[in-house]
Amino acid sequence: MADPSDGEDRGRSGFLLGLRDSIGVPVVGPIAALTGYGVMAREAGLDLLLTLVSVATIWAMPVLMAFAELTASGGSPILVLVTLLAIGFRNLPMSLSAIPMIRRKPGFRWNQILLAQLLSPMSWVQITVFGRQLEPAKRLPYYVGFSLVVLAAGLFGAWIGFTLTLGLPPAVGLSLLLLTPLFVTLMMATSPKLSSRLALVFGGIGVPVCMQWHSELGLIIGGFVFGTLGFLAARMRDRLGGSGT
């Protein structure tokens, strides 16, 4: 008979591992990014409580920025709903591909909606790339530990941006804005799957071009087209006798 304390130990060690792995760039990145949102929210006329609650509930930078802009400009509820639904679509594939990595049993459970709420590009890349190296029982607590610290860092960053005038040297402040995109891109490049690496290369080139045509539709169409291209290219390589997908 399995010892229940064994499962608890695995859960605890997975959670602690997630906390440990979040220290460093995964924490600095959201602080830097959300500092900008804090400044923007203050200038848009939001109060501090509303700013922090918006970070904790919306938890997606592009949606947050649009929310602050629309609130400041007095957008109608329907306009806000339609705009934010369009911008937030990017959360669907992220959630679709992350949840199967962390769930304990096949199929849908209601708590997965709560887990999806914690997703950010940082936690997505961590669980889909590094999560494969963890034993399945540790993935969920790992994801929760990692994501909670990243969320706390984001809240801290928004608070700094809202309450403190930017006291950082401009060179450091500007460079921190490079940190998250560079970290997420390099993390994705370490994916063990050739198909994922090809999708990253194709998407990195093609999606920004598509977004020049239309920022929201271009993102969605580009993601589907170039992701599928990476997937098919890796499968074709497999069929021709290569390996590594």
């Binding site: 929310f67 806000v80 401009p170 995109p181 999708a199 920004p208 993601g223 589907f224 997937f231």
Partner: protein, 111 residues
Amino acid sequence: MSFFETPWGLLVIGFAASSFWRAAGAVLSGRIEIDTPLFDWCVCVTQALVGGLMVRAILLPSTALAEVPLGDRVLACAIGVSVFLLMRWRVMPGVAAGTASLVALIVWRGV
């Protein structure tokens, strides 16, 4: 003025809009198993989408990073990627090198 026209009401709408797709992804993922071609394809689409967004955040940023000349941003990233490759695909040295290079370039140019 109705509740949904107040900032807190708009936040409720924003939360619903943001959560809708996350929840839809979670529900749909119940039909997907990892280590299947369908799951790989979903990861590829997300990888392309997020990768594209990250590259765009560097090349065509909507943040204050746009104040830094494009050449400096590209050079800093090239240094970061080079260190990443030279250090056998280690992420932290690559990120540190890229970010430090950008600090140096900004200070040097006096942006």
